[in-house]
């Protein structure tokens, strides 16, 4: 089992014909993911060969969905065009939209989230500025390396791409149901809480690893949620204890404002909810193994 993505997921790639789109589409195909084609209005009707697959290019997301039954879309669209591409996928009713693009204006994201709400939430958005989602040995939508680890009992949700890979590497011996990077922007389509809820409901996930970082209060809210609703063991890692106030640390959302958004406050909130918080990625992995052994 897994959350949000499985071997039957039919993946459309918006921005497939660009250089990044090609590289990562090849990676997705190599993972066994069913990539059904791409969207590019200027190249509609043509096919593109990527990693030995002839992939059709559609003029619009709606055309692609009608022709292929695509139920996931991955966006490698430059920031200036991301809002248009996101709204196109939302209007077409694609159930899962994974936005890899870094640098999307926050008001564009806000408008897309508002439109998703207006349409009753039929589209789940992951990102922007995220590495995507992987269900090892079944499918991958995004840019996550597919050779780190295999299928297993750990579920992972993270704001950071490379820390996702680091923890997958540390827990390569255990394996994952699904690992999900929710992104580093101030506004995100999917939060820690929604991922926790999905892992709680997934019968095969036995331990949940949650990676957070400075900025906002997503981790504090997740702590409240865990206390009230999550029965499975959760272990966490928080990055940014040494971050100075008022500086953006790489991710647009990673900023400490006054006393809020600090790593210490997140750690405290999580520990108060019974979550073991590792000081290092390695210690976090140890906690996860201990929780598995006890479960």
């Amino acid at each position: 089992m897994s959350i949000l993505l499985n071997g039957d997921s039919r993946i459309l790639v918006q921005g497939m014909t660009g250089s990044k789109g090609r590289v990562h589409t090849a990676q997705m195909l190599a993972s066994g993911a069913k990539v059904i084609g791409g969207v590019n209005p200027r190249k509609a009707g043509t096919t593109v060969e990527i990693a030995g697959h002839d992939l059709p290019v559609f003029g619009t997301v709606a055309d692609a969905v009608a022709a292929t039954g695509a139920n996931v879309t991955v966006l490698f669209v430059p920031p200036a065009f991301a809002k248009g591409a996101m709204l196109e996928a939302v209007e077409a009713g694609v159930p899962l939209m994974v936005v890899i693009t870094e640098g999307v204006p926050v008001q564009d994201t806000a408008q897309v989230i508002a439109r998703i709400r207006e349409l009753g939430g039929r589209t789940r958005m992951i990102g922007p500025n995220c590495p995507g989602i992987i269900t090892p040995e079944a499918s991958m939508a995004g840019i996550i390396p597919t050779d780190i680890t295999g299928h297993g009992p750990v579920g992972l949700v993270s704001k950071s791409g490379t820390l996702t890979y680091q923890l997958m590497h540390e827990l390569a011996g255990e394996g994952f149901t699904t690992a999900l990077g929710i992104g580093g922007d101030p506004l995100l389509g999917t939060t820690h809480i929604e991922a926790l809820q999905a892992f709680e409901e997934d019968p095969e996930t036995r331990v949940i690893v949650m990676i957070g970082e400075i900025g906002g209060s997503s981790e504090e809210h997740a702590a409240e949620y865990i206390r009230a609703h999550v029965t499975k063991p959760v272990v966490a890692y928080i990055a940014g204890f040494t971050a100075p106030e008022g500086k953006t640390m790489g991710h647009a959302g990673a900023i400490v404002s006054g006393a809020s958004g600090t790593a210490a406050s997140k750690k405290e909130a999580l520990e108060a909810a019974g979550v073991r918080v590792g000081t290092t990625p390695a210690e976090t992995a140890e906690f996860a193994r201990a929780a598995l052994a006890a479960s």
Binding site: Q27, P79, A80, G103, V104, P105, V106, Q107, A110, Q111, I113, A114, R115, E118, P131, I143, I144, P145, D147, I148, S158, K159, S160, G161, T162, L163, T164, Y165, Q166, H169, G184, P186, L187, L188, E213, I214, G216, S217, S218, H221, A239, G240, F241, T242, A243, P244, K247, T248, M249, G250, H251, A252, G253, A254, I255, A263, T279, T280, P281, A282
Partner: protein
């Protein structure tokens, strides 16, 4: 990257969108301040221009009644240090008669994932303090990103706070213009404290705070970047397109991915706890770092005279570690040899073994390989504190 504007810059945006502001002039010297105050008429207000709050408490705002007082105030405020920010510019504003002071702001609500407006009839005081002591005095109203703030909605906000019809009618148009500043300028924050009603009952914004979303720069011709930019190494990094934050310590830190680099900073600080060793900087070189980018990045980190050694922490995702090592070796040749410092390198992930083998063959005296990210942090701290040297 968000950009905090100075008051005089934010005030220009307000004026451009029809928000009523008090007359004001920029002054960079006491003479200019005197000329500005004389032109505007007394009393006038001399205000420090800094992109941080708390300037009033720090003595950075002074009401002046004569040319002599304007000169004295300007002399006192120019060069003043306000919470780490040096005052280099003043704004002189016309004094206005204040009948009442209100607070209004619009910001991005990260939790609810929409916008939020805050309004209070008790403007003029520290809003965070007000939120702590009397939270009910602040009216919190969500704003839908698709529909925005309308004049009836703005009036309702004022009435909910207990304002009269007259106050609501006077403030609402200015509040809608502030929404236009927020939405049309891609702001992440617009704040006015206080928004006053003057002797004639008209609304005037007598302070202006705006943060812009740097990601939206492509669709604006903002000219705020020079003034609002950070200085020194951070400015150089920005010009080079690098994601760099200067810190106070001795260990230069670079890696791929913001989360991994933040984590690396923490590991260095934890390992250095007993010896006082801390990170000198944050630098995310991003995915697919080329040899060129590696050289530029390493050069920047090494140009910080406080740096005693460097920790490069790479997890090869799509990026292959052997290419990273290629980049580092090339960078070692290209950077100013006089500035070179010992480097601890931790590689994992895609082609990590190939990368480590390549490094071993190169036999560089400058680079030591560590097997884990925790081990690398311990190694680099030992180097920085002079052990095993």
């Amino acid at each position: 990257m968000h950009v905090d504007l100075y008051e005089y810059q934010a005030r220009e945006l307000f004026a451009a969108h029809g928000v009523p502001v008090a007359a004001g002039r920029i002054a960079d010297t006491p003479e200019e301040a005197v000329a500005a105050a004389t032109e505007l008429g007394f009393p006038a207000v001399v205000k420090a221009q800094v992109t941080i709050g708390g300037r009033g408490k720090a003595g950075g705002v002074k009401l002046v009644h004569s040319a002599q007082e304007a000169r004295d105030a300007a002399k006192a405020i120019l060069g003043m240090d306000i919470r780490g920010h040096t005052v280099e510019r003043l704004m002189v504003a016309a004094g206005v008669q204040i009948a009442s002071e209100q607070y209004f702001s619009i910001l991005v609500d990260r939790t609810e994932r929409r916008y939020l407006s805050l309004f209070s009839l008790r403007g003029g005081m520290d809003v965070e303090q007000l939120a702590a002591t009397d939270p009910e005095a602040i009216i919190r109203t969500p704003i839908d990103p698709l529909t925005g703030l309308t004049e009836p909605a703005a009036q309702q906000i004022v009435r909910t706070a207990g304002g009269t019809e007259q106050i609501a009618a006077a403030l609402a148009p200015a509040m809608v213009h502030l929404w236009e500043v927020f939405s049309q300028e891609d702001a992440s924050l617009v704040e006015v404290n206080p928004m006053i009603l003057d002797g004639s009952g008209a609304a005037v914004a007598i302070d202006a705070k705006v943060s812009l979303d740097g990601n939206a720069k492509f669709r604006h011709d903002w000219d705020f970047w020079r003034g609002a930019e950070s200085q020194g190494l951070e400015a150089r990094a920005k010009a080079l397109g690098l994601n760099y934050v200067k810190l106070d310590g001795q260990v230069g830190v670079m890696g791929n991915g913001a989360g991994l680099v933040m984590s690396t900073l923490d590991l260095v600080a934890f390992a250095g706890k007993t010896t006082g060793i801390t990170p000198a900087n944050f630098l995310d070189i991003g995915g697919g770092a080329s040899a060129d980018k590696m050289a530029v990045s390493l050069g920047l980190v090494l140009s910080d005279p406080q740096v005693r050694c460097v920790y490069i922490n790479v997890y090869g995702g799509i990026t292959a570690c052997d290419q990273v090592v290629d980049g580092i070796l090339e960078a070692l040749d290209r950077v100013d040899q006089a500035t070179l410092k010992p480097i601890v390198l931790r590689l994992d992930g895609n082609k990590a073994e190939e990368g480590r083998a390549l490094l071993a063959r190169a036999q560089s005296p400058w680079v030591k390989s560590s097997a884990t990210m925790e081990g690398g942090a311990a190694d680099v701290v030992a180097l920085a504190s002079g052990e095993n040297n």
